[in-house]
């Protein structure tokens, strides 16, 4: 169990984390989502006592991190895959960590086995590929067989097989009753892994809800239609009290079942080239949720006018 209370971090003028209050519970995978620069890594560093909050506090099973007497047994973390000395072998990297917490040496060999690095255990970490570095970081997190696990973007640099592996690993860890807290910018990735979601943007809490709730609230269901008799079809819809949104060459109908549309078209002898029920992707829902707080927009030629909050709207709200 991790509990944050009014956690705030200011770097000079910049508020990286702004008054975050939430809990991460055991037994499930909790996804921590936010766009680039939202403050996910900063929050995680504060949870681990590496960065000191400007105000607010973090409690790990009711204690401050610095008060943990057996830290690796309590919480294991992957912050940055490169958080090791490149000149040291994977084995010695894990061994010095194990020794610092009085863990038996056999744990080193066990976790090397779990992450599949046994064959390169004596190789220097600087020769590792990105995915191997990530696996070494995960091995370090698992070393103390901890009750809480925290991963900052663990799928970075992993191949599809590796991604599948880490996904199942996280779910297994959670099923064993552990607290699993994992950050990502990919909603689609989280939809497959996480049961609970915490979403932040520009350091502020935007959502703290179950994945099921998020899907239910945010996924727009609609029916997509393509027809060569566009005008006549729109007339028919209007007389039936339905409206359609035109997007490109297709029409999108909200709040109606595909069957209904099909029967309506058949009754009026309309030709349809496509009739399909659609679900807006969770990625779109996530982008809508964080749209106002995205800090580093890529420059596109046509900014979605009206959708974005006007300049300064943010601080007025705050």
């Amino acid at each position: 169990m991790i509990a944050l209370e009014g956690l705030t971090k200011r770097y000079g003028e910049k508020v990286a984390v702004n008054n975050l209050t939430f809990e991460v519970r055991p037994g499930i995978v909790t996804g921590f989502l936010g766009p680039n620069g939202a403050g996910k890594s900063t929050t995680m560093r504060m949870i681990l006592g590496l960065d000191h909050p400007t105000s607010g506090a973090v409690r790990i099973e009711g204690r401050r991190y610095a008060e943990l007497r057996d830290p690796l047994r309590t919480i294991g973390a992957l912050l940055d895959a490169n958080a090791n000395h490149g000149g040291r072998s994977a084995y010695h990297h894990l061994l010095c960590l194990a020794q610092s917490n009085g863990l038996p040496e056999r744990r080193v060999r066990e976790v090397l086995d779990v992450v599949g690095l046994s064959a390169v255990a004596r190789k220097k970490a600087k020769g590792f590929s990105m995915g191997m570095g990530q696996r070494l970081g995960i091995a370090a997190a698992l070393l103390g067989d901890p009750r809480i696990l925290m991963f900052d973007e663990p799928v970075n640099g992993l191949d599809p097989e590796g991604i599948h592996w880490i996904r199942t690993l996280m779910q297994r860890l959670a099923a064993e009753g552990r607290t699993v807290f994992v950050s990502s910018h990919l909603m689609s990735e989280m939809a497959l892994t996480a049961e609970h979601l915490v979403v932040i943007g520009q350091g502020r809490l935007l959502a703290d809800l179950s994945m099921a709730d998020f899907i239910q609230r945010n996924s727009r269901a609609y029916v997509r239609v393509r027809t060569p008799e566009r005008e006549r079809f729109l007339d028919v819809l209007r007389s039936a009290g339905l409206t359609a949104m035109e997007t490109g060459g297709t029409l999108e109908l909200d709040g109606v079942a595909a069957e209904q549309v099909g029967e309506l078209a058949a009754r009026h002898g309309l030709v349809l080239h496509e009739l399909s029920p659609q679900q807006a992707s969770l990625e779109e829902a996530f982008m809508r949720l964080t749209a106002e707080s995205v800090e580093y927009h890529a420059h596109s030629d046509t900014p979605p006018a009206g959708e974005r909050a006007p300049w300064g709207a943010d601080w007025k709200k705050g």
Binding site: D51, Q99, S100, L103, D145, E176, A212, D213
Partner: protein, 274 residues
């Protein structure tokens, strides 16, 4: 998929009891930290390089010089005296290693892993200091002793001063210099910056006195700097006479500086973000 899962009701207790690991729990202590730091220092190439070069400098240079020195010199100098020349240069190896022991962790990001595993930061730094000091001291003592033995066995000259104490004093001085470097490295967190700073600490006081003498009011300062710089200190340890002393005061000054720098390093790391 996710939708099939049972929904978590807010506020409800978790369905599964918290995980209990079969591994026995041990409270981490200084002994664990020492074992960890020992593994760290012996598992990187830079340790082998710096200590290897140190040994080569002191032993090879010392044994070469031993025969070149006039036999009558040894009447008033210990057999370990030839080690002085290698130590002058070699102390920079210990300085580099001292800096690297800490700053390489900051440079690579390892420090975050270290402090996550051991949030008691003072314990980590204490273990680093102890392990580094012992490694440096033993290496330096062995190097000086080898030179002393070699000289005693090969040089056909009588020597009055006992050489064993100089093994201890010489090794102590250069190891303290290394610990000072470690503390500086911990405060600066930057390898190149800290090594350069330490190069200044060792060399500037040795070069400075003539320049200080341009100003009359600085004569006392010049005398002090010339008596207490690192090079004078080492030379006094190996060639001191009853009138000049045997470097005890110089070693005490360095020890004092090292204690102050270490206190600074402990204070600085306590609340800084890493």
């Amino acid at each position: 998929m996710t939708t099939e899962r049972t929904q978590q009701i807010p506020g409800q207790a978790p369905r599964t009891p918290s995980y209990v690991s079969p591994i026995p729990i041990r409270q981490a202590n200084l002994g664990h930290a020492l074992a960890s730091e020992w593994t760290k220092i012996r598992s990187v190439r830079s340790t082998m390089w710096t200590l290897g070069i140190f040994l080569a400098l002191v032993v090879v240079l010392g044994c070469m010089v031993a025969g070149l020195i006039g036999a009558d010199t040894y009447l008033n100098a210990p057999y370990t005296m030839p080690a002085f020349f290698g130590l002058l240069l070699g102390q920079m190896c210990l300085v580099s290693l001292g800096v690297l022991v800490v700053s390489s962790e900051y440079g690579t990001g390892m420090i975050r892993t270290t402090f996550t595993a051991s949030p008691q930061r003072h314990r980590v730094l204490a273990a680093k200091i102890i392990v580094f000091f012992l490694v440096a001291f033993v290496t330096a003592a062995v190097a000086i002793a080898v030179v002393g033995l070699y000289t005693q066995l090969t040089v056909d000259a009588p020597s009055n001063p006992a050489w064993l104490p100089t093994v201890f004093k010489g090794a102590l001085y250069v190891s303290l210099m290394g610990v000072l470097a470690l503390a500086v490295g911990s405060m600066m967190r930057h390898s190149a910056g800290a090594i350069t700073t330490m190069l200044g600490v060792v060399l500037v006081p040795a070069i400075l006195p003539p320049f200080l003498l341009f100003n009359e009011s600085l004569v006392d300062v010049a005398q002090f700097v010339s008596d207490y710089n690192a090079i004078s200190a080492l030379s006094l340890i190996f060639e001191g006479s009853p009138s000049t002393g045997h470097g005890g005061a110089q070693t005490a000054l360095l020890a004092g500086l090292t204690v102050v720098a270490c206190a600074g390093a402990f204070a600085a790391q306590a609340n800084r973000d890493v």
